[in-house]
Symmetry: C2
Subunit: 403 residues, 2 copies
C-alpha cells in the first residue's frame, strides 16, 4: 500500500517534534530532569477526584454521566466558568463558554476555524510548540510577533501575508508566564497587541494555561478583559480566551474551555459536534464537582509548592551559574528561560549534560519557528524536589563553566 500518495498535504507535513522525541529519551531514573513541563502528580487533589467520580456515578446520575451529551459542554461547568471569568474581569454569559478536551483541542479548533492554507498566523519566537503543531495542520505561514510588539508595522505584516497568498488571521500568545520563557506581558504590551489586532482586523488567541499560577507580583488584566474594557461588551471583542484545568486540577481528564464572542463559540460548537461530538460527559461532571469543592484550596496549595521550587531554582542559579549566563525571573508558571554565553549551543550542551552531568532540560531552538535561539535552554521547576534542584543546577553550572 503506497500510503504516502493517499495522505493529504497537511498530513504529509506532520513530523514528530524533536522536543517530544527528546523527552522520551530522558526517562532514565538517574537523570535529574528539568525537561518535562508537566504538573507534579503528587500535588493532584486525588481525594477530591475520588469523591467527584463517586458522586457523578451515584445511582441517580450514572445514566447521564455515561451517556452522550451536548457539544457545548456540561451546563453547570460552563456556568461555574462564567463565575470564574467574571472574577478576572471578563463578564460573559454561558453562551460565551464552551468546553474543549484540554486547551490543546482549543488551539486545533481555532486553527481549523481561522486558517486557510497560506494565511498568516502571528506568533512570538520562542512560542509554545504545541500551538504551532496544532496550527500546522491548516498550512499557514508564520510571522513573528516581537516581544515589544512595536517594531513591525501593521502594513508590513499585512503585505507579507498578501505576498504569501493569504491574509493575517490571528495572533497567538501566552501573556502570563509563557511556555517556554516564563515571561509575562505587561499591560502596555497587551494594549499594543490589541492596537495591532484592531489595525489588522484579526483574532487574538489568548492562551491562559498558566494564568492561575501567579506566585508574586500583581496580576495583569487578561487581554480579553482589556478588549472588553475597550468595547464595553464581549460580543464586540476579537480576543478568544483559552483556559485549562490541566495545570491547576489535573490534565488527565482533558478539560479546557474557550471564552469568546457568541459567533465564534457557535461555529466552534458545530465544529466540535462534527469532530468528536462532545468532551466526555463523566469528566466534565467530575471536574465541575472538584472545581466547586476544591478549586480555591488547590490553587493556594500548588502556588505555594511551585513558588518554593521556583525560588529554590532561582537561588541555585544565582549561586552556580558562571558569568555570561542570564535567565528569566518568572512571576509564575513552570519555566525559567536561560540564555547561555554567546556561541554556546543548547542542544550540544544537552548532549554533554546527559553524558556527564546527568541533567536534562529542553534546548531552546525547539521553540523557535525559524531555528534561532540556539544559545537558550528551558528549565522546568514543576517536578523537581529541593535536593534535585540544588544538585542539578550545581552540576549544570559547573558543566557550563567548564566549557
Amino acid at each position: 500500500m503506497g500510503w504516502d500518495a493517499l495522505f493529504a498535504s497537511r498530513a504529509q507535513r506532520m513530523r514528530a517534534s524533536e522536543i517530544r522525541e527528546l523527552l522520551k529519551l530522558l526517562e532514565q531514573p538517574d537523570i535529574i530532569s528539568f525537561a518535562g513541563g508537566i504538573p507534579d502528580p503528587a500535588l493532584f487533589p486525588d481525594e477530591a477526584f475520588r469523591l467527584a467520580y463517586q458522586a457523578v456515578l451515584a445511582e441517580a446520575g450514572a445514566g447521564v454521566a455515561l451517556q452522550y451529551s451536548v457539544s457545548e459542554g456540561f451546563p453547570p461547568l460552563r456556568q461555574w466558568l462564567v463565575g470564574q471569568m467574571a472574577g478576572i474581569g471578563i463578564p460573559c454569559g454561558i453562551d460565551n463558554v464552551m468546553i474543549t478536551s484540554g486547551s490543546q483541542q482549543a488551539l486545533d479548533y481555532l486553527g481549523k476555524l481561522l486558517l486557510s492554507p497560506n494565511d498568516t498566523a502571528l506568533v512570538t519566537w520562542p512560542t509554545y510548540l504545541g500551538a504551532v503543531q496544532a496550527f500546522n495542520a491548516y498550512e499557514p505561514r508564520y510571522d513573528r510577533l516581537t516581544p515589544g510588539l512595536g517594531n513591525v508595522t501593521p502594513a508590513a505584516y499585512a503585505d507579507g501575508a498578501r505576498q504569501a497568498g493569504g491574509r493575517v488571521k490571528l495572533a497567538y500568545l501566552t501573556p502570563d508566564f509563557a511556555n517556554p520563557t516564563g515571561e509575562t506581558m505587561d499591560r502596555a504590551a497587551r494594549e499594543r497587541m490589541l492596537d495591532l489586532a484592531d489595525e489588522l482586523d484579526i483574532a487574538v488567541i489568548e492562551d491562559s494555561a498558566y494564568q492561575a499560577l501567579r506566585y508574586d507580583g500583581e496580576a495583569v488584566p487578561s487581554i480579553l478583559a482589556l478588549d472588553i474594557a475597550r468595547h464595553g461588551d464581549i460580543e464586540k471583542t476579537r480576543t478568544i480566551y483559552c483556559g485549562s484545568f490541566s495545570k491547576t486540577l489535573a490534565p488527565g481528564l482533558r478539560v479546557g474551555w474557550i471564552c469568546a464572542a457568541k459567533p465564534v463559540i457557535a461555529k466552534l460548537v458545530l465544529m466540535k459536534q462534527a469532530a468528536d461530538l462532545h468532551s466526555p460527559s463523566i469528566n466534565q461532571m467530575a471536574m465541575h464537582h472538584v472545581a466547586e469543592n476544591a478549586f480555591a484550596a488547590q490553587v493556594v496549595k500548588i502556588r505555594a509548592a511551585y513558588r518554593h521550587r521556583r525560588d529554590r531554582m532561582l537561588a541555585e542559579l544565582e549561586r552556580h551559574m558562571p558569568e555570561g549566563v542570564t535567565w528569566s525571573r518568572p512571576e509564575g508558571g513552570m519555566f525559567i528561560w536561560l540564555t547561555l554565553p554567546e556561541g554556546m549551543d543548547g542542544a550540544a550542551l544537552l548532549a554533554r549534560s546527559i553524558e556527564t552531568a546527568r541533567v536534562a532540560f529542553v534546548p531552546g531552538r525547539a521553540f523557535h519557528a525559524d531555528g534561532s535561539g540556539g544559545n537558550t535552554i528551558r528549565l522546568s521547576f514543576s517536578l523537581a524536589g529541593d535536593e534535585a534542584i540544588s544538585a542539578g543546577i550545581g552540576r549544570l553550572g559547573r558543566l557550563i563553566a567548564a566549557r
Copy 2:
C-alpha cells in the same frame, strides 16, 4: 467584529444539521420517540464503572490516571483490543491500534489524514450523517457507493474525481447494521468493495460502531479481516477499521479505537498529539477495567434487550402498517428503515405526526447527500419500551393509512 471574513472556507461551510436541530425539538415528554439513535442508559453497566473509577483512582494509581499520557493510548487497553481484534479475524499488534475520543474523532482524523479540498470520498446514500459532517471540514466532494457496489465502473469514479480537481481517496461505509438503514453488507459485497478499492488504490474506512450488536444470523467477516485474508498481513491492507465502546459499554467516556496498518496509525498518532495530546487517561484506564471485567456479559445483556425491542417493533410494523409501506429487517444495531408509499414525504409526515400522533422519528432525506430519500424514515428501537413501541407504531400506522 466581522467574524465571517476571518473564518476559513471550511468553517464557512459548517451548518447545524437539520436532523440534530430536529431532535432538540422533540424532547417534549408526551412524545413517543423513535428518533434518537443512542443506547439505553438503563442498560449501562453502572456498577462496573463505579468499581472501575474506584480502582483507577485508588491511592497508588491516581497520579497516573490524572496525569498527561501518550497520544497512542493506554497500552493495556490497546493490548486488550488486540485480543478482541484477533477474535474477529484481525490478527494485529499493539502498534496497529490507537485510542480515539469515540469513533467520531476517528472519522474526523481520517478526513484530516486523507482529504485535500476537491478530493472525492465515496459514501453510500443514505449514510451516517456524522461521517459526512466530519469529512466536510476537509472540503471533499462525494460520489455515491451504490448498494451492490457494481453499477459504476472504477474508471467512472476516477474520471469524476479528476474532473472535480482531485482524486478518489477513500470509501466510507458501515458494513454491519448501518445507521440509518439497519442493513448489513453480505460477504460478496464486501469483497467487491475491496476489488473496487484495489482498482482505485484508495483507503476503505470500515465503521464498525454496531458490529457487536448482532441479534441473529451469521456474522459476516469484517472488511479488514477479508483484506488481511487477501494479503496475508495487516501491513499490506488498505482498510482502516474504526471501533467504539459507545454502543456496547457507554458513550459518555468517549473511547473508540482505530485498527490499521502501522504507517496509518503512526501518522494519526502525530495528528492526535497536535490536536488534543491524548484521550483522557482516566477514562481509558476505567474502560480497560470494565472491558476486562464486564464486556462479555454486557454484550450478552444488551443483545437480548435490543433483540427483544427489534422483534417487537417488527411485529408491530407487520400488524399496523398499511399496504405500500416496506421496511428493513435488521439482524442487529438500533435502526429500522421504512419506505413510505411513493409520493409521501417523511418530513411532512413527521410534522403531522408531531401534531397529532405524537410520535417522533427522523425523516430519511437527512441521510442523503443529494437530498433524495424523501419517502423514507428512520425508526430507532434502542430506547423504547414495549408499550411505547406498540402504541407508537400503531399510531404511526394509522397516520400513514389515513393520508
